[in-house]
């Protein structure tokens, strides 16, 4: 056998997997200092003695980050430890300013939770959560020359802006018994975490910017033989695939690793316990450092920080701020909005749920909100190759635009032109309508003249209408719209036609 598919691998093996998700919190400041926590600034402009690890500097815990971590833990059904400690994880690397990372080790703040994940066909899978702990991010290395790695580079640059950004790492318990649905479950789990952090408002949840990152641990064990319980079959050696940063990649990484490990096992070789790097371009993994020669991080309690000791009252207060589970919220909204399953799935896949909800909140009907976000705006986002949320238009603006239509001040065609103006930064929909002169012609005398002209040009149509075939009026409406370059209120035009024809509408 030279190649193997995921499906083939699943015939002989039962995968066991676990996922570590790192969530970058969107606090204003970093985990242990007052520097701004913002993506995309000039290198080394958001730094201070603390996050640069200068001699003498000391960390102070960001209370807001603790609050976010506890809320996330509560949303994941975790218990919140009354007293938890930070620890130092010691290793040398240029992007790690102090050459140790402040993390939580033996006393994570959030532990023992569980999360329901809903698959596309409605199947609910419960994932056990081992822990959710706080830590600080490292800076970012850029290796110039050589192969792009630190070894052999001509030189390396370090940007410490990301150093000290608050993270919560969520670790699952080993997940078993998913069989061929393993990849789907892995993907759905990460998607659910992403939805939860967004719903909590503690992270922007942007996987493409690395604000949600996943490591996928996977091992295979032989399928149980007849009469044997699968639970009695010991776990195999696992690989840990680092930095899998899109939902699609999660699925692909599971596919690749399962097939790779199955190949090895079927050909009598064994799987090496190691970290592996994910390559987006080839959808494959390559070995990183082997766990057998893994570093000893020499963890010990961080003596510069006091334990995290949230009061019970505070935890309960935070518990009351936890939004409903995204899957439950989707089911509820689907019901409220009257969307079909397919419509809802498309909305979720397009990351439009929150945007539509906000648009509805601003007073627009669900169908109209869906029409804008899934139609015109999705097309624009697609053309611009950006996410919907990155478009320079807010749900409030969309609601305003729809409001103008509902008031009859513009029609659909003009609304698209107004939207174009909004996306071009010309102002709010009302401002664009005003500045571009898009308002429909509602001056009856102008419309009456246009109708009269059109009727005169098509006397046969007038006769049909008068014969009771009122649908024939459509042709006149079309002619009037053309003559007014679309700026007429079609409903009003129709009324005038019927009046002129002497028929009641």
């Amino acid at each position: 056998m030279t190649t193997m598919t995921y499906e083939q691998a699943m015939e002989d093996f039962d995968p066991v997997f676990g996922i570590e998700v790192h969530v970058e919190l969107n606090t204003k400041t970093k985990m242990f200092c007052g520097c701004a926590n913002e993506f995309g600034a000039e290198p080394n402009t958001q730094v201070c003695p603390v996050c640069l690890g200068l001699p003498g500097a000391m960390p102070v815990t960001n209370e807001k980050a603790v609050e976010s971590a506890i809320r996330l833990g509560l949303a994941l059904g975790c218990s919140i430890r009354e007293s938890s400690r930070f620890a130092r994880k010691n290793y040398f690397y240029p992007d790690l300013a102090k050459d140790y990372q402040i993390s939580q080790y033996d006393e994570p703040t959030c532990y023992e939770g569980s999360l329901d994940v809903v698959l596309d066909d409605g199947t609910v899978v419960t994932i056990g959560i081992e822990r959710a702990h706080m830590e600080e991010d490292a800076g970012k290395n850029t290796h110039v020359g050589g192969t792009g790695g630190i070894q052999g580079a001509d030189y390396s640059l370090v940007d410490y802006n990301r150093g000290g950004v608050p993270l919560v790492e969520i670790v699952t318990k080993p997940i078993t018994g998913m069989g061929a649905r393993t990849a789907e479950v892995a993907r759905a789990y990460v998607a659910t975490i992403r939805d939860i952090v967004r719903a909590l408002g503690i992270s922007d949840g942007r996987m493409e910017q690395g604000s949600v990152r996943a490591d996928v641990n996977l091992s295979l064990r032989p399928k149980a033989v007849a009469g044997e319980s699968q639970d009695d079959v010991p776990f195999g050696k696992r690989s840990e695939t680092k930095n899998v940063n899109s939902l699609r990649a999660i699925e692909r990484a599971v596919h690749f690793e399962a097939a790779r490990q199955a190949m090895l096992l079927l050909s009598g070789e064994h799987v090496v316990q190691e970290t592996r790097h994910w390559h987006e371009d080839t959808s494959s993994t390559t070995p990183g450092r082997s766990k057998e020669e893994a570093e000893d991080y020499r963890y010990f309690p961080e003596p510069d920080l006091l334990p995290v000791e949230p009061s019970r009252e505070w935890v309960e207060e935070l518990r009351s701020t936890i939004p409903e589970h995204p899957a439950k919220m989707r089911a509820r909204l689907r019901e409220e909005w009257g969307f079909s399953d397919l419509e809802m799935r498309d909305v979720v896949a397009a990351d439009a749920l929150v945007l539509i909800a906000a648009t509805v909140q601003a007073g627009t009907s669900a169908q109209a909100a869906r029409k804008w976000w899934m139609g015109e705006l999705s097309r624009v986002a697609n053309d611009r190759e950006v996410a919907l949320i990155e478009l320079p238009v807010t749900p409030d603006a969309v609601a305003e635009l729809q409001g103008l239509i509902d008031e009859g001040r513009i029609n659909d065609k003009l609304a698209r032109q107004a939207l174009e103006g909004v996306l071009a930064g010309e102002g709010s929909p009302a401002e664009v309508v005003a500045s571009r002169g898009l308002e429909v012609v509602s001056d009856d005398s102008a419309l009456e003249k246009a109708v009269d002209d059109a009727l005169a040009a098509q006397p046969d149509v007038l006769a049909k209408i008068q014969d009771g075939k009122v649908q024939a009026a459509g042709a006149i409406v079309g002619a009037v719209m053309k003559a007014t370059r679309g700026q007429a209120d079609a409903g009003r035009v129709r009324e005038i036609i019927l009046q002129r024809a002497g028929v009641e509408g």
Partner: protein
């Protein structure tokens, strides 16, 4: 300006402050007198690593101008000070006594540095220390040893030998020290000066280059108990930049020192810690003799003396030499050539880090990094670090039990008077034993003071008297210390520091 007839370098800080307030002397005159003294004697003493003459004079001029203009000034405004090189000082070189930081100019001030500046005290310069505060003799400085002004062949203690020697040589009236296992108190003891390690968290550590974060504490050093108290109040107090800083007011130590000077200790119970008293032998005879005489004086002032036992102290030194290197191995990891300090350029970043650390760190630092790295390693953690933390808890309990029986505990500060430079440099264990009486206070986080109790008859060298108080009760140190000091100086006719042999003055 008036013609100066008094040698102001011999005055106490309190006297200088009063004279400044009375217009008897200017800050510029005080600073200049000390700069002249430094120029005259610091060649052989080598208490300073860096002198900031211009900066100190500039502060002095501004203080003098403000005083002339009637601006209200802090008590110690215009009184010069020396700062241990462990504290970062914006714009002034800071090395912590290590070659690995040679030439580094910090871009920020430690909280204590800031408080000193806010107190308008001219900073004379940075004082010498054992590299990263690892040592009891200042022989481990990357920039050469400091010598004891009482005998230039002897050590001035460590790690804060520079801060203590500067006081003993009259190069500064006040200095700042840091005490991880005795680095303020032991140098004070062997130079006949006063040094206080406050309660852990009583003084912000922000900007103090960390040795062992759970043990380190900055503190004031002076030639008298009152001077030390005045500086303590400048340094202390809550700081939001240090998460371990106590959120409570600075103890009223100046008031306590003034009260103690009245020499009435009626109702005070003083405990002699059997395990630290030298009763089991091993202490120099003159040290024990001066200690016992001091006890008699305290009793004479109305104090009741009781003996207490702290059996766990036997393990304190061993636990300390696990905890300290463990924390230090992590704290010193940042000296990796990437962002600041020495860089020994090699082909790869890994080799550069290795070469930089090999060249920049001295032997004692390497010894402790290796020890700590080993103690924290997987499979050894519980046996070493875990056990040491348990000992730490036992030491704390011993103190709790002892303080249930008395108000303060006392002992000789060190087992011997200062030894000769080079005598113990190749015997780390003998060196470590110096701190046997000072280390328990750091493990428990309680405050301690060392003050002079005389010279040993056999060698004429200073002997220190240590007072320990429960956490947050720093004021008790000052009350008892000031009482003993008042009694002793009355007999000596002035502070013991005045009895130090005259140093040869350079042209």
């Amino acid at each position: 300006m008036s013609e100066t007839t008094i040698d102001w370098t011999r005055a106490t800080a309190a006297r200088m402050a009063d004279a400044l307030a009375a217009g008897e002397v200017t800050s510029v005159e005080l600073v200049q007198a000390h700069l002249d003294r430094i120029a005259a004697v610091d060649g052989p003493v080598h208490a300073f690593l860096h002198i900031d003459a211009e900066g100190a004079l500039e502060t002095a001029r501004a203080v003098d101008a403000d005083r002339a203009a009637g601006v209200e000034l802090p008590r110690l405004a215009g009184v010069p000070i020396g700062i241990k090189d462990v504290l970062v000082t914006k714009g002034l070189p800071t090395t912590a006594g290590s070659r690995i930081l040679e030439g580094w100019i910090p871009p920020y001030d430690a909280t204590v540095t800031r408080r000193v500046r806010e107190a308008r005290m001219p900073i004379l310069g940075k004082t010498n220390m054992d590299e990263f505060a690892m040592g009891s003799s200042t022989e481990h400085s990357g920039y050469g040893p400091t010598r004891n002004p009482w005998d230039l062949d002897r050590i001035p203690g460590g790690s804060g030998g520079g801060s203590a020697a500067a006081l003993a040589a009259f190069e500064a009236p006040l200095t700042i020290g840091s005490d991880t296992g005795g680095s303020i108190r032991q140098p004070a003891s062997v130079t006949a000066t006063v040094g206080v390690k406050p309660t852990y968290g009583g003084v912000s550590r922000f900007g103090a280059i960390a040795l062992a974060s759970s043990l380190d504490q900055l503190g004031p050093c002076g030639r008298t108990v009152l001077d030390t108290a005045l500086l303590h109040e400048v340094m202390g107090g809550h700081d939001e930049m240090d998460a371990t800083s106590l959120d409570e007011p600075v103890p009223a130590v100046v008031e306590a020192a003034l009260e103690g000077a009245r020499q009435d200790l009626t109702g005070v119970k003083i405990g002699v810690v059997r395990e630290l008293s030298g009763a089991d032998g091993g202490y120099q005879a003159g040290v024990t003799q001066r200690f016992e005489e001091s006890l008699e004086r305290l009793r004479g002032m109305g104090a009741e003396i009781v003996e207490v036992s702290c059996p766990s102290f036997e393990y304190a030194l061993a636990a300390y030499y696990v905890i300290l290197p463990s924390e230090a191995s992590s704290n010193l990891a940042k000296f990796d050539s990437v962002r600041f300090g020495l860089r020994v350029e090699k082909a790869t970043v890994e080799k550069t880090m290795l070469a930089t650390r090999a060249e920049g760190f001295g032997d004692e630092v390497k010894r402790r990094i290796i020890l700590g790295t080993y103690a924290l390693s997987a499979g050894y953690y519980d046996a070493y670090y875990g056990s040491a933390q348990k000992v730490r808890t036992l030491v704390q309990r011993d103190f709790d039990a002892a303080f249930a029986q008395c108000d303060v505990l006392v002992s000789p500060t060190t087992p011997t008077t200062p030894f000769k430079i080079g005598e113990r440099i190749d015997d780390p264990l003998a060196m470590y034993l110096n701190d046997i009486a000072t280390i328990p206070a750091n493990l428990a986080g309680i405050p301690g003071m060392s003050l002079p109790s005389g010279v040993a008859p056999e060698d004429g060298l200073p002997v220190g008297f240590q007072i320990l108080a429960p956490a947050h009760e720093d004021a008790r140190l000052y009350r008892i210390g000031a009482a003993l000091e008042a009694s002793l100086t009355a007999e000596w006719g002035g502070p013991l520091s005045a009895q130090a042999p005259e140093l040869e003055v350079a042209e």
